[in-house]
Every structure is written in structure tokens, then in C-alpha cells.
């Protein structure tokens, strides 16, 4: 229990760095599994032993399923820790220091936009459809996302519409919370405090952010944000899990590969970009100083 309460937003920075390392390992494992699957598939195709190889294939599917489950659990762990940190300091989690400006610019309520999952799925599917067009036209399975069946596409489409609807609902809730920054309690408080400052009636500790007068009002605002942030995280995780549920194990592997690649590379590019910008700013201020 002690560790639970001690998990603080500044610790999340450390956790996130560690988690990224693990995601790198996950990615390596996913890619290896996809390659092994593809090799086995080609062997079976060449040998024309589809039926004889079925037992082996089922075993392979089971292994793929386990890898997918493990990676999904890794995402679950991320959101579990994130949620705990949000309880501690929602503001730090809404604009965190570990995220690059590039990632920040594309953030939807403290994380990735859930409807992005479908864009990612369709983008990856598109690449694999173009690559496997000749096979697809002969109704030969390609063993990746290009194989998505009519029923799977229907379920993805349904999930996409529901997710967009939910995303809009949560966006509205966020709008409500942001609007509340100018509600009557805040308007009154800011006025009263301003008047007190103007008339030199007060000491800073009586009107500062941590004062008995201000703290509860701001706290209420933070709590409002926190509940919306939890909803947004919940939608992110459930969208991911629901997409995975629609996909076959090998399709899930391909989807998770695409997700990890995108996340890792965007983070890396953003971090590099920020570092370059910081270095440039430092050197220009040095020059100005000279």
C-alpha cells in the first residue's frame, strides 16, 4: 500500500523511461514472431502440406496469442501506473515533462487520440494489401492484416464509429471542465483577491495558490480534469484491447508492431528535435550574452 501512495507523477518519468525500454523489447519479440510465422507459412505453402501442417500451425497461433496477450498486459500496466499518478497530480500528467513537443502537439486529453487506432490499422492494412494484391485476388491468405475478413472489417467499422462517438462525448466533457475555469467561484475569487492586493490588505500566504481560500477552489477544478483524464485513458486502453480482440493472433502481432514502431519513432524524433532546439537556444543566448 505504501508503494501505491508513494507513486508520484515525478516518478512516472522514471517509469516511462523504463517502460519504453520494455516496449523496445516487446517490439523485437513481436517482429521475431511475425518473421517466424511468415517463414513457417512459406514452408507450408511450398510443401503443399496445408493439412499436415495444421497441428503445427495451431501451436504457432497459440504462441502468437500469448505474445499478443503479454504486450497488451504491458499496455495495461502503463495505464495502471498512469492512473495512480493522475490521482496524485493530474496537472503534471496532463502536460508531462517526458513528452516531446512533437508528441504534445498531437495529444488528445493526456495521450493518443483513440480514433488514431483505426487510422493506424487501415494504414498498415493498406501497405499489406498493396504488397499482397496478387495473392488476395486469388483468395490466397496473406497471413497479415490484408486478410481481414468481411466480418472483421464490419466489426472494426462498428468499433470505429462507437469510438469516435465516445471520443466526441469525452471531448465535450473536457470542454465543460475547461469552460469552468471562468465559473462564478473563480471569477469571484480572482476579483476578491485582486482587490485585496490592490488595497494592500493581505499577506501572500493568505491569497497564494496553497492558501485555505484558493486551494479548495483549484482542487475542485483539478478533480474535474482528473475524472475526464481517467475516461480518456480508459477509452485508449479499451479501444486497443477491442481492436486486438477483433484481430487474429498474427494480425494482432502486425498491429502491435505498427503501434510500437510509431510510438517509439515519434518519441525519438520529438526528443531529438527538442534537444536540437534547446541547443540552438542555448548557443543563441550565449552569443547574445557575448
Amino acid at each position: 500500500m505504501a508503494t501505491r501512495t508513494e507513486m508520484r507523477a515525478d516518478n512516472f518519468n522514471e517509469f516511462f523511461r523504463h517502460w519504453l525500454g520494455e516496449q523496445n523489447q516487446d517490439l523485437r519479440q513481436l517482429v521475431a514472431a511475425a518473421e517466424a510465422y511468415e517463414n513457417r507459412r512459406r514452408q507450408l505453402q511450398n510443401c503443399h502440406q496445408n493439412r499436415a501442417g495444421n497441428g503445427h500451425k495451431d501451436n504457432g497461433e497459440r504462441v502468437l496469442g500469448q505474445i499478443v496477450e503479454k504486450v497488451v498486459q504491458h499496455y495495461e500496466k502503463y495505464y495502471e501506473i498512469k492512473s495512480r499518478c493522475e490521482n496524485q497530480d493530474v496537472l503534471a500528467m496532463l502536460s508531462p515533462s517526458w513528452r516531446s513537443k512533437l508528441e504534445d502537439a498531437f495529444v488528445w486529453i493526456g495521450g493518443w487520440r483513440p480514433s488514431m487506432a483505426f487510422m493506424l490499422l487501415y494504414s498498415k492494412l493498406g501497405l499489406q494489401v498493396e504488397a499482397g494484391l496478387a495473392e488476395l485476388m486469388r483468395s490466397v491468405p496473406t497471413g497479415d492484416l490484408a486478410d481481414l475478413s468481411q466480418d472483421q472489417i464490419r466489426r472494426v467499422d462498428e468499433l470505429q464509429l462507437n469510438t469516435i462517438e465516445e471520443e466526441k462525448r469525452i471531448s465535450e466533457k473536457m470542454a465543460k471542465q475547461q469552460q469552468k475555469m471562468a465559473d462564478s467561484s473563480m471569477t469571484e475569487l480572482s476579483h476578491v483577491v485582486t482587490e485585496m492586493i490592490r488595497n494592500n490588505e493581505t499577506r501572500p500566504e493568505e491569497i497564494g495558490f496553497d492558501s485555505a481560500r484558493v486551494r479548495p477552489v483549484l482542487k475542485e477544478k483539478e478533480e474535474g480534469l482528473e475524472s475526464v483524464l481517467h475516461m480518456a485513458d480508459e477509452l485508449r486502453l479499451t479501444t486497443l484491447k477491442k481492436v486486438i480482440n477483433i484481430l487474429s493472433p498474427i494480425q494482432g502481432v502486425h498491429f502491435l508492431i505498427a503501434a510500437a514502431e510509431l510510438h517509439l519513432r515519434v518519441h525519438e524524433w520529438g526528443t531529438q528535435r527538442d534537444a536540437t532546439a534547446a541547443a540552438a537556444a542555448a548557443s543563441s543566448s550565449r552569443n547574445a550574452g557575448n
Partner: protein
């Protein structure tokens, strides 16, 4: 009824009604049908020799020569390596139109396409309609609900002398009137209608409509807007509709003669607003935007292979030739020994149909995937009808 399927020759078909409002609310985007009507009409040999009543003018298809060439190479490779499998399964004895249908939201954040398929909707004829809404989805949804009923009424009351053009023009006009009337009493809008709060009168909403009637010996395609129907006959691809774009010379003249203007603002648009020159609905753009369809009537021939109806989500990124090429390949492909397995615990309706012919569905879904692969920005709806009678 997210997915409805009429499987096999033995089953009688009863359209599944949405069980509840909430089911309807989910908007039934995707359906899969594999239908083989019980009362199959055998085509008389004479009808094959009749010439086309009206040659549809060839569309200004996105001529991607390099793409087409590469594509044909691919097709040839497939044909060569698969020649022994190109004959259809002898077990399928029916000569009725099987079809496949796929409709997805794609990259857009709203679903405004609607598709209606009604086999044997009037006697021995079959109805296929694709509607691509704009402004909101409700006109397209209304067309999906009502167009076939209106057409059925007009078809069953037409005299022998009446031309198809007249019958279909009356139908489209009635559909348009209904939509306009219904918009006026917009209190009954469905709760998921996103235009509800924006424009109570709902005048700024419309839909394309491309409707194909397949009878025993004819195909009648009526079009209004920029969805499209294409036929593949003996390997030759012919569009059966001509997109209504505001910059089509005859349409431009019609619009300007009626006092309207075509303004180039992100492409040619009527009054700078609507990127098509005909549509159901769009009351505020009348009389420049009209609901009158262009109608193409052709005789069915033994060389007919397939009919592809789709919204511009497909046609924007896939040429007529490519679309028909893909559909032909799928229709002539040999069936895989074991169908690719569908994961998930629930036994899906469409999975249950996989025992019957699924070539048409394979075609519609592959075309949809191809449109997604080519980054179509729009909703994608594709209907593929197998016209071959000698199966």
C-alpha cells in the same frame, strides 16, 4: 442487423429488420449478402444478340496508364498461374445474381454512405442502390429506406409503352419530394442525426443515388450525383453512369441557363458549395441542383460478368478498369481449400455464409481494402453483382 446474409439456394430469404431503435442507431454500415434467388430466370439466347439500347458515354476515368499496365500484368500473372482454377465450382448450379457488399467509414469521422439491396424486389427484378450523403447522413438513410419502395411502385404501375427514363425520373422525383417534405417536418429526425442542432430545416443536406435494376433481360442504371455503376462484359469495362460534376460541359450549361453559377473553390462547385450537379435533397440549391437521373438501359448478354456500384470513396482512387479487374479476378478465383479463419468467439452471421459462394463478397471487400490502401479520404461503399448466368 449489422450483417445480413442469405445463404445458399435452399433458404428462403426474409430481410432481417433491425430489432430495436438502438440497433438502427448503429447504422448498419456493413452488410454481407450472398444471395441466390429461387426463381431463376433463364435468359433467352436472342437477348444476347440485341444491341445496347444506349451506349453510355465513356467516363473521363482517372487515366492512370502506368497503374493500369502494372495492374494488368499482375492480373495476367494470376491468370496464368491459376488457369486451372478459374472455372467455377460445378456445385453452384444457380444462374441468379449473387452479390457482395462492403461499406465502411474509412478515414472520415462520419459515416454518410448508405447501401440498399433488395433481391426480387419486384417480380424477377433485383434492386441495388448506393447513396452517398453530404451535409449529414439522413437523406442517404432515407433513400436507403424508401427508394426501392418508390421504384417498386412506379415499376409495377408502368405501362408497356413507358420508357425506363420516365419511370426512373418519376421515382427519383418522388424520392426527392419525400426528403424535402420530411426535412420540413424535421421534428422526427433520428437522434443520431448530427445536423439536427445546426440546421433545423435540414435544407443543406443531400445524397447521391445510383440505382441498378437487374431484370431477366435488362440492366437499368439510374444515376444522380457522383456515385457510379460500371459493367464488365467480355473483359470490356463500360461505365453505365456518367458522374454529375458541375464542370461537365452539359451540366455547366444547364446550371448557368437556370441562373446558377459554378465557382471553383476546392474544385468546381455549384454556387461554390456543392461538388456535384445533381442530388437528392439539397433544397437550397434548387433549381441548379436537380434530382433528375440519367438513365442507361442495356440488354443483358451472355458475356456479362459483373456489375460494380460504388460511392466516390472507391472511384476517387480506383479506376473503372482496376475495379472491374479486381472483381473479375475474385469471381473467377478458385476457392481456398479452407476459408481463412475468423477469430473471435462469436459465431458471426457472415462466417455462417462462407459455405455458400463468397466470391462476390471477396470482390467487394478487396475493392474496399484497395480504396483504403490508396488512402481514400471518404467513406467507401462497394456492391459487386455477379451477372454470369452459366454457372
Amino acid at each position: 442487423m449489422a450483417s445480413v446474409c442469405y445463404g445458399g439456394e435452399t433458404k428462403t430469404s426474409t430481410p432481417v429488420e433491425p430489432s430495436s431503435k438502438s440497433a438502427r442507431k448503429r447504422r448498419m454500415e456493413i452488410h454481407q449478402f450472398n444471395f441466390v434467388p429461387a426463381d431463376v430466370a433463364v435468359m433467352s439466347p436472342e437477348s444476347g444478340r440485341k444491341s445496347q439500347k444506349r451506349e453510355a458515354s465513356s467516363l473521363d476515368a482517372n487515366s492512370r496508364e502506368a497503374e493500369a499496365e502494372e495492374f494488368q500484368k499482375k492480373c495476367l500473372n494470376v491468370l496464368e498461374s491459376d488457369s486451372e482454377g478459374s472455372k467455377s465450382d460445378p456445385e453452384v448450379k444457380s444462374a441468379g445474381p449473387k452479390f457482395g457488399l462492403t461499406s465502411v467509414c474509412g478515414q472520415r469521422r462520419d459515416m454518410e454512405d448508405a447501401v440498399a439491396i433488395h433481391p426480387s424486389f419486384s417480380g424477377g427484378s433485383h434492386f441495388y442502390g448506393v447513396y452517398d450523403g453530404h451535409g449529414c447522413s439522413h437523406v442517404a438513410m432515407k433513400c436507403k429506406e424508401r427508394m426501392h419502395e418508390i421504384v417498386k411502385h412506379e415499376v409495377e404501375n408502368r405501362t408497356n409503352e413507358e420508357e425506363w427514363l420516365e419511370t426512373m425520373t418519376k421515382s427519383f422525383s418522388k424520392m426527392d419530394e419525400e426528403v424535402t417534405e420530411w426535412s420540413r417536418n424535421s421534428g422526427q429526425l433520428s437522434p443520431n442525426c448530427r445536423c439536427e442542432l445546426q440546421t433545423p430545416q435540414c435544407d443543406a443536406v443531400g445524397s447521391t443515388a445510383v440505382v441498378a435494376l437487374v431484370t431477366e433481360d435488362k440492366i437499368i442504371v439510374s444515376n444522380c450525383g457522383d456515385s457510379r455503376a460500371v459493367i464488365c462484359r467480355g473483359g470490356v469495362v463500360t461505365p453505365l453512369s456518367n458522374d454529375h460534376k458541375p464542370d461537365r460541359p452539359d451540366e455547366l450549361k444547364r446550371i448557368e441557363d437556370s441562373g446558377g453559377r459554378v465557382i471553383y473553390w476546392d474544385g468546381a462547385r455549384v454556387l461554390g458549395v456543392l461538388a456535384m450537379s445533381r442530388a437528392i435533397g439539397d433544397n437550397y440549391l434548387k433549381p441548379y441542383v436537380i434530382s433528375e437521373p440519367e438513365v442507361t438501359v442495356i440488354d443483358r448478354t451472355p458475356e456479362d460478368e459483373c456489375l460494380v456500384l460504388a460511392s466516390d470513396g472507391l472511384w476517387d482512387v480506383v479506376s473503372n478498369e482496376t475495379a472491374c479487374g479486381v472483381a473479375r479476378m475474385c469471381l473467377s478465383a478458385k476457392k481456398p481449400k479452407s476459408p481463412p479463419r475468423t477469430p473471435g468467439n462469436e459465431i458471426s452471421v457472415s462466417a455462417a455464409c462462407e459455405s455458400s459462394d463468397k466470391a462476390c463478397s471477396d470482390a467487394s471487400i478487396l475493392l474496399t481494402k484497395l480504396a483504403l490502401a490508396r488512402h481514400t479520404a471518404d467513406n467507401v461503399s462497394v456492391v459487386v453483382v455477379d451477372l454470369r448466368k452459366d454457372l
